[in-house]
């Protein structure tokens, strides 16, 4: 069970978020001020921090937490929506969510942070595929056989898995995998995606895992 260090001075919001996250199966430690935050930093898997805290403000608490536990992912919850506030916050925090937030979104973002630090279960299921993202082992659950990808296919698929649910443009994919600027009209990426689909899709003509978003790019959805 992942442990969340939650710092929020608003009692009503604090109670609500704590209850919601607990219902979602997390173990939540809720503090109403940032004073003792560092003591709990080591035990937490992720920290959720309100920026407008009395006494020490959230930015200072966040920076102190990062000093204490550099690997602890921090999500800033803030009423400030100005770009400069976000930029300042993201200089040390891993994510930034503005109030009023939806609990689903908060939970989803916490999940992303936990996944990034691999604190979440290590197996990912995508339709008929069972994937261990760390070792990039892909098992076809229908046959129990392992699917082996070539170098570029492997990089491409891994990049999709790191950006689950995000739509990635051709430019973004090409530049991330090939490491050079995409030239308009280049077919290399499409060819590799076709090969990849032939290996992992049940029906490559009607792809379910790597979706095509017409005019924009591709997406792998959980």
């Amino acid at each position: 069970m992942a442990s969340i260090l939650y710092i929020e001075d608003e009692r009503e919001i604090g109670e609500w978020v704590t209850r919601d996250l607990t219902e979602r199966g997390y173990q939540v430690t809720w503090l109403t001020s940032g004073e003792q935050a560092e003591q709990h930093a080591r035990q937490a898997d992720v920290a959720v921090l309100d920026v407008m805290l009395p006494g020490l403000d959230g930015f200072s608490v966040g920076k102190r937490l990062k000093r204490e536990a550099p690997d602890l992912p921090i999500l800033l919850l803030s009423a400030r929506s100005a770009v400069e506030d976000k930029v300042e916050g993201l200089s040390f925090a891993d994510d930034y969510l503005t109030k009023p937030f939806h609990p689903e979104e908060l939970a989803a973002r916490i999940e992303v942070l936990l996944r990034r630090t691999q604190k979440v279960e290590d197996v990912l299921t995508l339709r008929h595929l069972r994937i261990r993202p760390k070792s990039m082992q892909i098992i076809d659950t229908r046959t129990g056989e392992e699917i082996v990808l070539t170098g570029k296919q492997y990089h491409l698929f891994q990049y999709f898995l790191r950006h689950l649910n995000q739509i990635l443009t051709k430019e973004q994919l090409y530049e991330a995998v090939w490491g050079e600027p995409y030239i308009e009209g280049d077919k290399t990426l499409m060819v590799h995606i076709r090969y990849l689909r032939e290996k992992i899709e049940q029906d490559p003509a009607d792809p379910q895992i790597i979706e095509t978003i017409r005019g924009i790019g591709y997406r792998v959805r959980r």
């Binding site: 608003e10 609500w16 009423a79 400030r80 009023p100 939806h102 609990p103 005019g215 790019g217």
Partner: protein, 448 residues
Amino acid sequence: MFRSLQARYMLIILTALILMQVGYLVLSIAMSFGMDMEPAVSASDVEAEWHEAAGSLTDVSTDVIRDLFARWKARFPEASMFWVDGDGVLREQTEGREGELPAIWTSVSTAQFIKSRYGGDPFTVIAFVGEGGRGGFVVIEIPRFVFDPPINQVYQQYGTWLAIGMIVLVVLFILISYLFFRRIRKRLMQLQEAMSIRDVDGLPVSIELSGKDEIGQLEQSFNDMVLELKESRSREQREEQLRRELIANLSHDLRTPLTKIRAQAYTIGKQEVSDEGRRAIEALERSVVNLDRLIDNLMSYTLLMAGRYKYDPQNTDIVRLVKEHLATWYPLFEQGGIEVDADLQPVAQGEWRIDPLWMGRVLDNLYQNVLRHARSGRYIQVATAATEQYDAIVVSDHGPGMRSGQSEEKGAGIGLSIVDRMLRGMELDWDIQSDEQGTTITIKRYRK
């Protein structure tokens, strides 16, 4: 009194002028003492007198001649004289010319002498001694300058020194002027250097005063200006800080209750509620989102109007920016059941000098409006377009149009005001066409 540079330089010029004038004055005064401006004697007078003196001698003897010479020597110390008697023998001469003159004078040597002295310098007068010239002749030679006016004599005697003195004076004047200006120049250069030094805050630094003259005053004014700049900067920073705090506090104060409302609505929504209750909760949820959006827009608009919205233009690949931005919105349209038609082709001049954050904000507002007001059309198209004059990004929907007068529409106004301000800020043009069939917004960049 002589703190002013101008006064000091005037003093130098005056001194030089006065020195020259005074020099001349002193010289003239010195000369006019004991010397008339007119020559003491004229050559013709001397000639007549000499003839007279020689002709009137009776008992011609060496003593008589010596006496004559002595008298004339006293009158013309520069003169030299000699006497040749009736037999052509050189009998007497004043000192200083021994050996130069022939001892015996023949008619030839006499004629030669006369010829060599005629009209020359020294002025020479030959006069017969005694009645009928039996006593031979006496000659007096006086340097011509004796007949010049006294000032000329001074020039002749002291001319070189005078010239040297003048040159020295002029050179001295030039030197002093040069040193004077060199010092000014040096100080100005130092001042210029000091003025170009910048502090860590990018403002100039105060400088040490180097005097109380005009440059000193300039330095003082500069220091005053630096002080004013610093004050205005710190005032600006204080205001900026206040503004940020105000906005942050306002955001917090407005959004905290919104978060609570959302929390309550969410909590109620998890209970068993009637369909009507569910609809009420959804409406509540929507109002929270709209209100949040409105707060955000209001604040952005205030910042924009005050010129405080950070603008950082960069050369941006517009098609790529729009595509990647649309990718982040796609899931929201998908959720809202809106079909996304992306038709983003490369444009002729695809690199736009814009702030990507501003453009993102513009598109956010446009998409937001589609989600909120044109959901019923179930369609959004984001496309590129081009004419001869411009490249464009076109966002169109099949919603009920902007002027359908629904109360919900009003929120779009401030969002579009922000769009307008930002696009104009990025030197882009835009227009909007809206009717019952939908709304089309075209963002144009005229080709350069």
